[in-house]
């Protein structure tokens, strides 16, 4: 069993989920409620990783992180080491790759909140931020949890983009899925199977918990 890879993956996925939550709440809010006509452009940009092969995204990210790109140079000057083939590089790549899995469920949940509730909140003197914190967010909590779980699980399962951007450095970028691939390449089926089983059990556990704990929608009974 590759405990090092499991620990690394858990750290990566947790960090990515938290960062995605922080990014996705305002982004989903903007995408759902903005009246600007070009929101669809941002929408397609956010959703790009859904259709793009991970290797394509990984390739461009690798180029962007290289020492010849402005991003790569800026990172190099700031931290003293390159971004590619590091844990930080993996975090950046995973955030971009899992972005639609966080934004979409959250945006859908926001859109399902009865607009008259937000309007009622505003007529009662609440600022936009208070309306978000007290009305929109609590009523979308299922979508937010779904977004968190999906981005965590998606990060745990990614392979192509990790290989492109992170390579296969034990303790730094070797995640569980890379580790399994590695063992299979080395014909160590026994070890591959052990790690794979851990992943399978984890996935089942997460999904069971999410579906089992899912609360009924908040919707009030129709006025009698």
């Amino acid at each position: 069993m590759d405990w090092q890879a499991i620990w690394l993956t858990a750290r990566l996925a947790s960090l990515v989920s938290v960062i995605l939550l922080v990014i996705s709440l305002p982004l989903a809010h903007w995408l759902t409620f903005s009246r600007r006509r070009w929101t669809f452009l941002i929408e397609s940009l956010v959703s790009l990783p859904l259709v793009l092969p991970p290797t394509v995204l990984g390739f461009y990210l690798l180029m962007a992180m290289g020492s010849r790109s402005p991003l790569g140079r800026w990172w190099m000057e700031w931290t003293g080491h390159p971004l590619a083939f590091t844990f930080e590089g993996l975090v950046v790549a995973s955030v971009l790759y899992s972005l639609p899995f966080a934004v979409q469920p959250i945006a859908t949940a926001f859109a399902l909140v009865d607009p008259s509730l937000r309007e009622a909140s505003a007529t009662l003197g609440a600022s936009g931020l208070r309306t978000f914190a007290r009305v929109t967010l609590p009523l979308s909590i299922e979508g937010v949890i779904a977004g968190l779980v999906l981005s965590f699980a998606h990060t745990v399962g990614e392979f192509g983009i990790v290989l492109m951007v992170g390579g296969n450095l034990p303790g730094i970028t070797r995640t569980v899925s890379i580790s399994i691939y590695d063992r299979v390449q080395a014909l160590e089926y026994q070890q591959a199977n052990q790690t794979a089983l851990v992943l399978l059990a984890f996935a089942l556990l997460v999904l069971t918990a999410v579906y089992g704990l899912r609360r009924r929608p908040w919707a009030a009974a129709p006025i009698a």
């Binding site: 008259s116 309007e119 609590p138 908040w218």
Partner: protein, 366 residues
Amino acid sequence: MTLDVTVNKRLGPGFTLDVALIAPPGITMLFGASGSGKTTLLRCIAGLTRPDEGRLVIGDRVLFDAKDGIDVPVQDRHVGYVFQQAALFPHMSLRDNIGYGLHRLGADERQARVATIAESFRISEILDRPPAQVSGGERQRAALARALVTEPSLLLLDEPLSALDQTIRSRIMDDLRRANEARRIPMLYVTHSHHEVYTLGQQAVVIDTGRVIARGTPHEVLDRPEQSVLANLAGFENVFDATVVERRERAGTMECRIEGTPTELEVPLNSAAVGASTRIAIRAGDILVGNEEPRGLSARNVLRGRLTDVSAHGPTMVAVVEAGARFIVHLTPSGVESLHLKPGDHVWLIVKTYSCRIVADTPWHS
């Protein structure tokens, strides 16, 4: 505190909301068919929809002025809004709902105010329940309390009682009337029910296709509808096109023939000449039905007809009678029973001259 508003908002091709309105403290009924622009007017006043042109002043506060670029955001307007479906926050108890707008007050003060207003709206016992666990009427009372507890300078009500049944409705109307007496603020109440206009309104404003077509006291506006649009809205179920066939100046009446029929009605005299077309409106509740020919009546209009349909609409029996023209008549269930009325029966309709109102068919603008 008085509301003074002019709003101009294009709502679609050929449909513009164009309304000027002054509402003094008290309840002003905004009356009109659905789609007439009433709700949009409320939304513009609340700041939920932006008018294309116009100006909005409450007391001495200018909340919107298209020319000066003033547009006070919704949350700073101090305008209460009661939605058709209450719009209570489903994840909060009624107590937290009602206290929601008091977040700038301390907890003690907030609780005290919530308790006081809950008392006056008779919901003290259920304050800790979520909206899903109280009745529709209780929800709407909580919504009224939530809007009023913030002491708004204006209260907007968008058909707040339309989803409730009659008994609950009239009790909440009593609550609202009391709330109105205790506060010197204008309340704009949107409705398409003429019953509500009569029972609640001190002033009525009628809106049709985005324009004000009549204003005055409820009785002025609804009892003598001067246009057929209004006649329909005001519950005049029978509206007939007719031609004046004879003027009886001394009797103060004239005889009119309903268009396309031999049926004639005697109506109050007005300035229409013989041969002029006119329009007659009669309330379904103002027509009497007999199952034999009546004698010794003062009513001038006695028409023979055939009953084609009787059906119950709530507590009212609605009868359709073919008497040359098609008449809608409202009866009580016991009336229908005592006359043994059934479709196919020959009946007589009795209509007093002064139950026939002459209405104009072109809207006028005031």
